[in-house]
Amino acid sequence: MSAITCSHVEKSYGATTVIRDLNLAIEEHEFVVFLGPSGCGKSTLLRMLAGLEDISGGEVSIGGKVVNDLDPGDRGIAMVFQNYALYPHMTIFDNIAFGLKRQKVPKTEIQKRVEAVSKTLGLDPYLGRRPAELSGGQQQRVAIARAMIKTPKVFLFDEPLSNLDAKLRNHMRIEIARLHQSLKTTTVYVTHDQLEAMTLADRIVLLRDGRIEQIGSPAEIYERPANLFVAGFIGTPNMNFIDVTVGRKGNGWTLTSAGTVFTIDGSRFKLQHGERAVLGIRPPDLKTAGSNADSLLEGTADLIEFHGNDALVIFGSGGKEISALVPTRECPAINSHVRYAIDEQSLHLFDAKSGVSLLRQSL
């Protein structure tokens, strides 16, 4: 049993509330990622799970046991920090073995377990060195080894890859994923990098200002963002937003923005005649259009970013800057007139006032 439950959890520093009334259930073996912009409270929440921050209100339980007043060491968790937090004066062996020594594990067993863990993570050549003699990636691997050796009920990762360079980050991400596959330990992982969140998570918890904006699998969050914030935060390049007015037309609906009218079937959405809405389209969902298509976005391509396989075409339409990600072979010349068709299946509509998605719940 190592599920985590947060009920009505609050955190405040004096008069400032950082996390308010947060409810969350993390299942056993699950890999959950807390994702959000800086200052959204994701690290604070993780540190509250770890016991490094007091819980101002509500209850946190790990494995069915309320841990609010337990010391960090007694919660059955292990944590990996962003800046590794290794003990600089100890050898790698001592760093990994520190926790076991404090628990008075017999020496021969410590030796055996350190060897096993360091073999898994490829650290055996470095056991006699000190942290400063290792590269960033190796240091983070030591930090992971130090967490693993305690065979915790829960792994907590606090932006573990942020200090590494891009190539190493990819490599370590795969290692962490592989580790979770073999150990199946319940894991909570904090990051502001959506690529990490998308690739690692079973479920993503998207946070803003200490509140949960959406919980769901990476696919759910990408395909069915619950509101404008989630839609804008997830996905690179960012989703295009166009303010529109909804109108009824025969059996379908029209979406009117400055100068452009989009005709849609609209059965996926809960729409009302005359309502103000925000239309969201991801750049890859814009397709180069033929001459006779309707529901078009057109304008003059004023900037083109080359991405390799694809190119990002940025053009102005109705006073808005729109970007479209197209295959490089379809890439237009700069300053040429471009026309892109919208596929209704990939449209997102949000209420203009509340920002909530207008998608029907059953879909």
Partner: protein
């Protein structure tokens, strides 16, 4: 560029010359005197070469002074570091940031007192009849007299306590500030690694502060060598020779009891040589 190279030389050379004269002339003169048989009572003297040094090794009072000096050095340095680390860690663990500032201010005051003033204050505090430091003893025993400064067994520790009072508290402030500069993550990691509070300090924070703590210890070792004023005011080396350190004995041989300036100089030269050798060896050892 000549201007660049000449400017530092212009500023540094005069100062260096003055420093060299001020430090080297007395040193060389002391060595020269140590090889003679000068006394304050007469102007006649001659070179006796090493006989002063040989005499020293048969002087039981000198050997006692060496032993007292070593004791003094060990007691004051160990006690100062123990008090500094103990109090520093205690403040770090228990006190709120605001309280810490107040403690820091209080703990710096003793070291700001001139040594002689501190010595007088504590001499009165240790007074067997009126002293505040001996008051609890009188109270508990129903008026028995306890005079720590006039008992050979306690005199050295009583004087050392003043030294620790001045420097231990001051160093506690430095230790606290050092602890505050440490990154919090290794401490948090240690908490997750089942370390108790004291274990975190014993195994993580203090080893991380090893280099600055050793420097602090060196400062205290050098400072402890200059204890003359404190001992002079509080006990004058007494009772008997119980607190007579090398510098006290040299002073009394040279100026108070017999005026044997050359004999005193020989002691000073020996002290200098011993200090240089000891500190060089310790420093090398620490660097390694």
């Amino acid at each position: 560029m000549p201007r660049r190279s000449s400017l530092p030389v212009t500023f540094v050379v005069p100062t260096l010359i003055i420093l060299l004269i001020l430090s080297m002339v007395p040193t060389v003169y002391a060595v020269v005197i140590a090889l003679q048989n000068r006394e304050l009572s007469s102007t006649a003297y001659s070179y006796v070469w090493f006989s002063n040094f040989v005499d020293l090794f048969f002087d039981r009072r000198f050997l006692n002074a060496v032993w007292v000096s070593v004791k003094w050095e060990v007691v004051t340095v160990v006690a100062t570091m123990a008090v500094a680390i103990g109090l520093g860690v205690l403040m770090f663990e228990v006190a709120s940031p605001r309280l810490r500032n107040i403690y820091c201010l209080l703990f710096i005051i003793p070291v700001l007192l001139p040594r002689v003033s501190a010595a007088f204050v504590w001499k009165f505090a240790y007074h067997p009849l009126y002293g505040i430091a001996t008051y609890p003893y009188r109270l508990l025993t129903g008026g028995l007299i306890f005079d720590p400064l006039s008992k050979p067994a306690t005199a050295l520790f009583a004087v050392a306590s003043v030294d620790v009072w001045q420097w231990g508290l001051f160093f506690a402030v430095i230790v606290l500030k050092l602890l505050e500069t440490l990154p919090p993550q290794p401490i948090e990691a240690a908490r997750l690694d089942h370390a108790r509070r004291w274990q975190i300090h014993a195994y993580v924070t203090l080893p991380m502060l090893k280099a600055p703590l050793i420097s602090l210890m060196f400062v205290k070792m050098i400072e402890s060598l200059r204890s003359f004023d404190l001992i002079y005011v509080m006990t004058r080396g007494g009772p008997g020779v119980a607190t007579e350190t090398l510098d006290m004995y040299a002073f009394s041989q040279g100026f108070i009891e017999s005026g044997k300036v050359s004999y005193a100089s020989a002691m000073a030269v020996l002290m200098m040589i011993a200090t240089v050798i000891t500190f060089t060896m310790l420093w090398k050892r620490v660097q390694a």
